[in-house]
Symmetry: C2
Amino acid sequence: MSESSQTPRPQFSQRTKWAKDQAISFLMQQAVENRDVISLAAGLVDESSLPVDECLRTFDGIFSDAAKGRLALQYGTTSGSELLREQLRIHLARQEHCPVDQLGVDSRQFVLTTGSQQLLALVGDALFDPGDICLVAAPTYFVFLGVLNGVGARTIAIETDEQGIKPEALEAELARLESVGELHRVKLIYLVSYYENPSGVSLETSRRREIVAIAHRWSKHHRLFVLEDAAYRELRYDGEDRPSLWGFDEGRETVILAQTFSKSFSPGVRVGYGVLPRELVGPVCDLKGNTDFGSANLNQHLLAGVLSSNRYVPHVEQVCAAYRKKRDVMLQALEREFQGTSGVSWLRPEGGLYVWLSLPKEIGCGFESEMFQLAAKSHRVMYVPGELCYPTDSPCRRTNQMRLSFGVQDAAGIDEGIKRLAAAVRERTAS
Amino acid sequence: MSESSQTPRPQFSQRTKWAKDQAISFLMQQAVENRDVISLAAGLVDESSLPVDECLRTFDGIFSDAAKGRLALQYGTTSGSELLREQLRIHLARQEHCPVDQLGVDSRQFVLTTGSQQLLALVGDALFDPGDICLVAAPTYFVFLGVLNGVGARTIAIETDEQGIKPEALEAELARLESVGELHRVKLIYLVSYYENPSGVSLETSRRREIVAIAHRWSKHHRLFVLEDAAYRELRYDGEDRPSLWGFDEGRETVILAQTFSKSFSPGVRVGYGVLPRELVGPVCDLKGNTDFGSANLNQHLLAGVLSSNRYVPHVEQVCAAYRKKRDVMLQALEREFQGTSGVSWLRPEGGLYVWLSLPKEIGCGFESEMFQLAAKSHRVMYVPGELCYPTDSPCRRTNQMRLSFGVQDAAGIDEGIKRLAAAVRERTAS
């Protein structure tokens, strides 16, 4: 069109520039362009675990009753359905092994969001001015790194081992920041506390307590919040039933707890939520008011129906049983294909959807690497490059790692995927 | 708690400060505190029009088929279900009286959001740096004024009459801004093109063409976009079936069209969408990726099912018939109560949910006014103060107006509400 060449280009905001070229978009693009590839990259959930019958039944219950149906189809409030928030208090009390009336939060402190991702984004918006600092585990959830980039925050990765983020490294970094006069820029410590995306690591219990204490101690200029992303909490296959960091925050002032039904029930329903310190509720709801003045009321009524039935807990048990099997298939395949291969190791997760694989140090796994190309193009298998899970300029950053998901593939797909990946790795290391 | 007094206060971002104290929150608070009041304020939709049976039937169709059900319950993509986007092309073509293959946009230019509100917010984020300028009608949709405040934008109200925003006033303001060296800060012209919230005014057809031409002409430094908020488009009760501004933008480069199913189908489903100029798709999806990486897939599958049935169009006709009656009840009641009252006038809307009422100039109607208090506290009726619908410092701003909604009340409630309002006005003017 001739007009096209004459019309001046748009001028976008600084935020748009910061949000550009996210890894997630590239991954989705790759998935679309490589449809015959076995994806161990996608964070999708297991198809067969999706609660089709439960939704049929619950929607029938809602829409066979005109009054109930209308309530679900009308506008809700910005912070979400009171019906669901009451259920969430009971749900959280069960998780915390605590009587509901001793939870220390009321239903107004529950804010319902479009997946827990929206809660993470709102917290980012509420706290960070450009140049403010967030401390994160290394590696950490790469989509949250995108959120932090998107608000112009600086991200500092804290040394992490197989027990999770190291409290002494966290404390040392805070002391360093104080010594260079930057403590006042530190707003948040972010971590995925259960079966972390990407590493599968679950933060060791005594460290949970210590990290909350560190946040309290270093709240010198202003409140230093901890954002506990507990997205995978319910996907526990074995190992300890660990208490949340949130539970150690006795005043309920420091830890923001983000949880979701995307993994335990359905991601297509997009119901997540935050349990917020009292002073954060207003700011987060103001921001959400501008964004969408409330997530879908319909979906909240669905979840309220499901939670108030006696069918939710057995559903989650069934989901966990299915994932436990698939995790074991992946671990067995890794064992078979890589055992004894020098420089190759992986972590055994006790829950969640991911296995974290390390290759010999010299083998880069990024999108541009020979490894990624070999895997995707010649061997038709895809993974998430581990380097995406570190802030770009972090000294903690490593380039020889991969996140492998056993979420979406069935057992045969997982087995075949690992076989292909091993073939690609062998080809790469032989070259 | 003793800890409470010791812990330093949180430090929020600049954005949080900008988003604070929105009118919408105050209104919701008022609604909660005054439950026995007749609300002509709430923008809720008519309860009896909500499609309970249609949802029962469509969900039955989706969840009786395991494969279909799983698709709806799995993650979707950031821009939304392809299934629905294809239906939206057909839907838009019907509205535009144009064959689908001549629409001039492909399905990738449709971005599905959580209500059209999220689309408005994303466009705000994509375009505005603090200090950038948005030109709006006077009065205009007050929630979008909140969005603009929230990103630190400056808002300039353009003179508007009963035919909508005046093109010559728009042009004059652009010329003025150019003369003071600020044209490069102007990013967007925003308007509600059909049955505007709050005034009920529908922009006159030749002005639509002119405004698009003005945006083209004044795209000197960069593209000057028009955001056409067509939320009420389908709620037409009489009068002309006007073409969209979007339709006049032949290159499909300048007008961003925001539409929604919140009014015509159900707000609890929260499915809105934008039809975007090609160059905006990437930026908006990047921002949405950080926000929630996609609105609820389930709801998009529901709407796709409804649109592909032959039941959507008759449903909308039924909805319009119900609102037409309620509008007439409100107009008749106004006539009965206020006819001949000096200084009181109102506009007759041809669609939408609102009647715009003006009182004598000296009678302020804001939250703090004697009028509002009299109405809410003594006469138990609530309205939206018209002054909220102008930028705070605008010379166009008037304080003697009210937005009255016939959306949520039934005929008897509307009639009684206007009776109470008239009593309050009489008491106020007598004082």
